[in-house]
Amino acid sequence: MTAALHAPHIDYAGLSPLLALSGGVCVTLLLGLARGPGTRMLVTASALLTLAAATTLAAWQFGENKSLVEGALRADDLALSLDFVFYAAAACALILSLRDPGTSHASLGDYSALLLTSVTGMTVLAGATNLVTLFLGIELLSIPLYVMCAVDLHRRTSLESGLKYLVIGSVGSATLLYGLAFIYGATGSTDFGPIAHAVGRSGIAHDPLLLTGIALAAAGLAFKASVAPFHQWTPDVYQGAPTPVTAFMAVATKAAAFAIILRFFDVAIHPAKGDWDVALAALAVASIAIGNIGAIGQDSMKRLLAYSGVAQAGYMLAGVVVGTSLGLKSVVFYLFVYLLMNVAAFAVVIARERETVLGDDIEAVRGIGASRPALAWPLTISMLALAGFPGTAGFIGKFFLIEATVQGDFTWLGVVIVIGSMLSLAYYLRVVAAVWMQPGAEPVRATPVMAGGSAEASPTGPRAGGVQLEVVAIAVIAAAAVVAFGIIPSPLLDVASDAARAVFG
């Protein structure tokens, strides 16, 4: 009897984005050891190059749709299209951190390397088709984020934010792991394929073990996606973390969480859709309601965007609930749009944080319509797009989601989205009104109290320090893209269609 041990076939091409990222982490970390005036630029450039390489490789692999590592990972269009979101968000976060007083305390290579590690975790997560890779991906993305939140050592809120995220994130992970163990126990497999088979055979309603497992796993994933009622950490952590980190978390973490939510619900347990769709719809409604109501009356822009993110997660969850190809398409499309809208908003918040002493308070953007049109327009476009005004990609995104709910026999959920959008006007328009319709605050440029008085806070003197071109550029580009894709959404829709085809055939 010859027990030949076959070495597993490794598809290096399919893994190439992951390999590029892992290599980039090491290189970036090592480059950070160099001491010199240009190290910061060098490290950032290395990290950006890594992301560019990963993006190129992902684009190269697009359309291949293959399984890797014995079915533990898939490099399909769903994973790859969302990889683009992660990479873009990470690149923006890197550029926004370039002159950030908060993140400059971290030793130079660490911050960028942590960011890349987190992106690696997201890439794993988006492709996960196995419970083990799922968990691996989630931890790999979360642990660097705990550190990145607390990276601003001189500010208590940043430390508090990191600790809070660590504790709550761990609870979320533990819940998820517990649930995954139950699912394994009930179905006897960790691969999504056999799980789908087992679920399809018996349903989940009659099997308490499986039902508990799925409920716990869903709760764990809801923590990560900040879906109500598991969202409580979001406003505090968002507010405390350095703003570029917040921007990255708001966009990339949410996209990663939705990547796995899509794959978990729409692939692994899709055959028992009738058993979970109403429960998930309830979560969506709760998110829409709590997010939109919570955001009203927030004076901190970051908290406002955090609650808005909870509400937007609810909208996207509606696309998951219907469990159709159209639903998946609409969620992927919305994630693209969500990236652009939030990056624009956060870039403006960051710019104003550095220009004034008002931090992320809504006061900081008051009257910038007259004084800073290059920031006022992106913020306005972002807010209108988040509210779903036509002419922006946000409108197409909402249209698409509603279309998916109606087609999936969840018309009432579409109406809930609409009602949520109405509520959201109260706070989005408040920002727009502050920008355009109120007299501006005095342009104060003093030592940034919030940032702890770092020497690098104003590298080019007070006046020029007021205008950080790279931040403004990101805001303008993201906002322009929001408008452009609002008029010509077809390119993004094509990518989203490919993603849906990879899953539903």
């Binding site: 109606v406 579409g414 609409v418 109405m422 006007l425 727009v432 355009w436 319709m437």
Partner: protein, 499 residues
């Protein structure tokens, strides 16, 4: 070709926003650039009317659409960029371009802070309205319909009078609540009427595959809510007094003259043809709303001291008449409604301009108690005002008279009781318009009020509009003939003939 018409104003707005020149001078120039584009658009629209095939004899093409552009815009969503013009939209387009040209001209003779943004927003508004009137795809219509809000939100909120931010917030929240409901309804219409997995929002496709009656009913109510808020009609008019008081005059002119018509137009273009069963089902409800709007608007108009609000509430009453005509579900009523839509736009614009002139002479207030005694010292202004006022109260011989006659005729044939009550509204109109004219023109000159006639530049804006009123009074058939065919093809046959 229609696309040029739609996007020409926006191009002008962008040109004005980017035109070189700084400070006050630059603002002026931006105004003239914008005016040039607005006039070109108006010329384009006149060309459209002259070129329009009225289809006498009634056996021209079936849909009656002309200058159609149909591009498969977002194939993944089934949204077409389909635009066209027919007898329903032709005069709406003309009215829009005329009033916008007037508003832009009025603006460009005055100074505005942040003028570049102002003209950009004004132009964006025109593009959105023209788009809504031309759209032949439900999703496209919704898009333009909602897009209108953005510029008006800023126009009132930035350049408005006192309490402008509250006013504009209220305005946008009211209208967007309706719009979002409409969005949900529109998506549902497209998906539910899909045949063979092929989703389409093109209006003619939607008409060819009507929804079941139950579905029609809730979607119709969503659309009705959006349109009634926009008009506004009685229970949904809460935004009107604040927004009208806060809006700067040129914005007020287009808001009242054109935007309110988009709602009424929406009934004719969308609600009746696509949800015919529901329209019959809710006919009584809409007639009651129309009637209450007429009575409420008239009573409120009579009791206001602010001249702006007199006209504002009279608008509610006039729009009530239009709704009444539409929901008589009779060809005469619908025709009267179209004519009245044009008429109302034409009279309300000069009314608001004149009120602004009067307010300037009364120390900046539009309070009727502070005005008066202008008739002899400002004869030209007074004469124009008289013509407009008489048209508004539907003096026999005016086009408004013809329109209201047609509307009442239609209602009389459909539901006689409503016609009798509505007849009272005609009388009320005379009462509040005469009060407005008398208080501002004939009372003894109020203390502190100046009395001088209007300037040449004011005349340039006012006189052409008044001339159009006179022309229509002499020859209302011009509108009626061109809309007749469209009414017969646009309105569902089962509604018009069975009853």
């Amino acid at each position: 070709m229609l696309s040029i018409l739609i996007f020409l104003p926006l191009a002008g707005g962008i040109a004005a926003a980017l035109w070189p020149g700084s400070g006050e001078h630059g603002g002026r120039r931006a105004g003239y650039v914008s005016l040039l584009f607005a006039m070109t658009t108006l010329g384009f629209a006149i060309g459209l009317i002259l070129d329009f095939d009225a289809g006498f004899g009634g056996i021209s093409n079936v849909t009656g659409l002309q200058h159609v552009t149909d591009v498969n815009w977002i194939p993944q969503l089934g949204i077409h960029y389909k635009i066209g013009v027919d007898g329903l939209s032709l005069f709406m387009i003309a009215l829009t371009t005329l009033l916008w040209a007037g508003a832009t001209a009025w603006s460009s003779f005055r100074e505005w802070p942040k003028a570049r943004n102002y003209y950009l927003m004004l132009a964006l508004g025109e593009t959105a309205v023209l788009g809504a009137f031309c759209a032949q795809d439900l999703a496209l219509f919704v898009l333009f319909f909602d897009l209108m809000l953005v510029p008006f939100y800023f126009l009132i909120g930035i350049w408005g009078g006192e309490r402008r931010v509250e006013a504009t917030t209220k305005f946008v929240i009211y209208t967007l609540v309706g719009s979002f409901l409409m969005l949900a309804g529109a998506v549902a219409t497209g998906i539910l009427s899909a045949h063979g997995g092929h989703v389409s929002f093109v209006l003619s496709d939607l008409r060819a595959h009507p929804l079941s009656k139950g579905t029609q009913e809730w979607i119709f109510l969503f659309f009705a809510a959006a349109f009634l808020v926009k008009m506004p009609a009685f229970p949904l008019h809460g935004w009107l007094p604040d927004a009208y008081r806060a809006a700067p005059t040129p914005v007020l002119v287009v808001l009242s003259g054109v935007l309110s018509k988009v709602g009424a137009y929406g009934f004719l273009r969308i609600a009746l043809p696509i949800y015919p069963d529901a329209a019959v089902q809710f006919q009584e409800l809409l007639l009651v709303i129309a009637l209450v709007s007429i009575l409420y608007g008239s009573v409120m108009a009579f009791s206001q001291n602010s001249a702006t609000l007199v006209v504002a509430y009279s608008s509610i009453a006039q729009l009530g008449f239009i709704t009444l005509g539409i929901f008589s579900l009779r060809p005469e009523g619908a025709q009267g409604a179209i004519l009245q839509m044009v008429n109302h736009g034409l009279v309300v614009a000069p009314l608001f301009f004149i009120i602004a002139l009067l307010a300037a002479r009364a120390g900046g207030t539009d309070d009727l108690r502070r005005m008066g005694g202008l008739a002899f010292r400002a004869p030209v202004l007074a004469a124009l005002f008289l013509i407009v006022a008489l048209a508004t109260l539907a003096m026999p011989g005016s086009a408004n008279f013809a329109a209201e006659f047609l509307i009442l005729n239609g209602v009389l044939k459909a539901k006689i009781v409503y016609a009798i009550v509505a007849g009272a509204g005609v009388v009320f109109a005379a009462v509040y318009m005469i009060r407005l004219f008398q208080r501002s023109m004939h009372n003894p000159l109020a203390r502190g009020a100046e009395s001088r006639d209007m300037t040449l530049t004011d005349g340039v804006v006012l006189v052409p509009v008044v001339l159009v009123i006179l022309a229509l009074a002499l020859y209302p058939q011009f509108v009626l003939h061109r809309s007749q065919n469209a009414i017969n093809t646009s309105l569902p046959r089962e509604i018009l003939i069975i009853r």
